[in-house]
Symmetry: C2
Subunit: 249 residues, 2 copies
DNA sequence: CTGTGTCGTTATCGATTGATCAATTAAAAA
DNA sequence: TTTTTAATTGATCAATCGATAACGACACAG
C-alpha cells in the first residue's frame, strides 16, 4: 500500500554486527552530533538496520523505552522510524520475529533424532549449538521482556520449543532407557525434559540476562546436566508416594 | 524527618488478601467511582496497603506503569501516593523489600542441614516450602521485572540464595554421596546445585509468570527432579573430556 | 546540468507522565 | 460539641510520550 515492495537489489548485506558503535562522542542529551550526518540508505537496508538496532536497544531498556532514545541509538532522528513502521507496536512485533523465528535452526530436529549416535552425545551437541544462539545478553533479555509483556509471542515460542525439541528429547531418552511412552506417562516425561531445559536456561539467565558470572563455563554445565538426566532418567514416575530415602547409586 | 514515626497501634491488620476488588464498576477511564469514597486510614496502615497493592499492580504491568493506574488499583487518587513516598522510585524500592526480604524464612537453613533426616526428604520438603512462597504470579513476575530493570536487587538476592541455600544443598548432597568438597571442585558442585534450582524455578516461570499450564503439578516436579539429582549427583566432574556414552543405571 | 522521486530532518501536536500545593474533610483529642 | 490534627483531593505544572505534516537534501535518470 504505502510502498511498491521494491525488494531492492539484494545488496551485499552486512551480516551480524552486534557491537557496532552507532554514536561515537555522544555526550549530548537528546540530539545527535551535528558533525555526524546520517548516511542515506535504500529502504529495505535501513529497515533491517532499524530492526537490528532496535533489538539491541530494547534488550537493554525494555520495550517501554522511548522511540527517541531508540533513534539516538540508531544515530538518526525519531520521526524517521515512522517512515518504516506505522506504530511502535509494529516495530516491536518485527523485533519479536527477528529474535524468535529468524534464528531458528531446522537442523536441530534431525540432530536430536539421529539414532546412529548415543543420546547423550546428541543432547550435548544440541544444547551446545542451541545455547550458542540464545545465550547472549540480547536474546535472553528480549525473551524475558517479551514473556512479561506479551504472553502471546512467548506462548507460541514455548509451544514451538515443546513440539520440536522438548518432546523429541523425552522420546529419545525414553527410547534409550527402554521406556515405553504412553498417553498416561507422556506429559510427565515431557515435564522432566522441560526441567532439563530449565536448568540449562536458568544458567543463561543468571549469566547473560542479569550479567552475573557463574564460575564455570557453559559447556561444563551442559555436559554435566545432560549426564545427570540421562543417567537418572526415572523409570517409574513418583506421583503420590512420599519421598523415599534413596539407595546410593 | 517528614513524620514522627507514629508506629500506630498495631491494629488488627488485614492479612494477605491478594485478590481484592479495589475498583468495582470501574468503567470510567481515569477517576474512581464517585459513590465509593476512600476510607481514611492511619499512616502506617495506609502505607503498608499501598506497598502491598503496588506489588500486585507492578507485578502485572511492570514498574514502568503509571502512578495513576496504580492509584486506580488502590481505589484512591494519584497525589496520595506522594504523601507516603517521596518519589516513585522510593515506592518501587519498598516493593522490592517486601517481596525479596520480608518473605524470607530463616527456618529454611535449619531444615536443609538437619542430618537426622535423609537428604532427599529434606530437599523435597525445602522446595515444597520454598516454592509455596515464590511460586505465584506476583512473586515470579516481580522477580523477573526486577532482574531486568535493577541488577542490584536481583544480584544481592541471588547472592543471598547462593550463600544460604544453594551452597548448603551442594554440601549436603556431597556429604551424603561421600564426596569431599575442596576449593577446586566447590564451584562446580555449586553450579550443579544451581541447575537443580533452575529446573524447578523455570517450571514456576512457565506456569505462573507466563500463565502457561504445565500438565503436571508442582509437587510431582519437585519430587522427581530432586530424585534425579540425588541419584545421579556426579562423583567426578566432567570438565574437558567429550561426552562418554553412559551405561544404563 | 536539470528535474524528480525518495530518504531524512525540523517543527509541532495532543495526550500522558511524575510531581507539587492549596483547599477540603474525616478522625482523634479536647 | 468543639477544636485540632492529619489524611485525602482537585487543580495544575513542566517534561516527555507517540505520532504527523511539511520542508529540505541527496542520489539518480535523462
Amino acid at each position: 500500500m504505502r510502498r511498491t515492495l521494491k525488494e531492492s537489489k539484494k545488496a551485499p548485506e552486512r551480516r551480524r554486527n552486534p557491537l557496532s558503535g552507532g554514536k561515537s562522542s555522544g555526550a549530548k542529551p537528546s540530539a545527535r552530533s551535528a558533525s555526524q550526518k546520517t548516511k542515506r540508505l535504500p529502504f529495505e537496508q535501513r529497515r533491517k538496520l532499524i530492526v537490528r538496532k532496535a533489538a539491541e536497544f530494547f534488550a537493554e531498556s525494555g520495550f517501554a523505552a522511548t522511540t527517541r532514545e531508540l533513534a539516538d541509538h540508531l544515530g538518526t532522528t525519531q520521526p524517521l522510524l515512522y517512515k518504516y513502521f506505522k506504530t511502535k507496536k509494529d516495530l516491536v512485533d518485527e523485533v519479536y520475529k527477528s529474535v524468535f523465528l529468524d534464528v531458528w535452526d531446522d537442523s536441530w530436529d534431525d540432530l536430536l533424532i539421529d539414532r546412529s549416535r548415543p543420546v547423550e552425545e546428541r543432547l550435548v551437541e544440541f544444547y551446545a549449538r542451541y545455547t550458542d544462539v540464545i545465550m547472549n545478553r540480547g536474546w535472553m533479555r528480549i525473551y524475558l521482556f517479551a514473556g512479561l509483556r506479551d504472553v502471546g509471542i512467548t506462548s507460541s515460542y514455548i509451544r514451538l520449543l515443546e513440539e520440536r525439541i522438548i518432546r523429541r528429547i523425552a522420546v529419545e531418552i525414553c527410547t534409550f532407557c527402554g521406556i515405553e511412552l504412553t498417553t498416561d506417562n507422556e506429559s510427565h516425561y515431557i515435564e522432566i525434559a522441560w526441567s532439563l531445559q530449565g536448568s540449562i536456561f536458568y544458567y543463561g539467565v543468571r549469566k547473560y540476562a542479569y550479567g552475573l558470572s557463574p564460575r564455570t563455563d557453559k559447556d561444563f554445565v551442559i555436559r554435566n546436566i545432560v549426564g545427570i538426566y540421562v543417567k537418572a532418567w526415572p523409570h517409574e514416575m513418583v506421583v503420590t508416594s512420599p519421598p523415599r530415602s534413596v539407595q546410593l547409586l
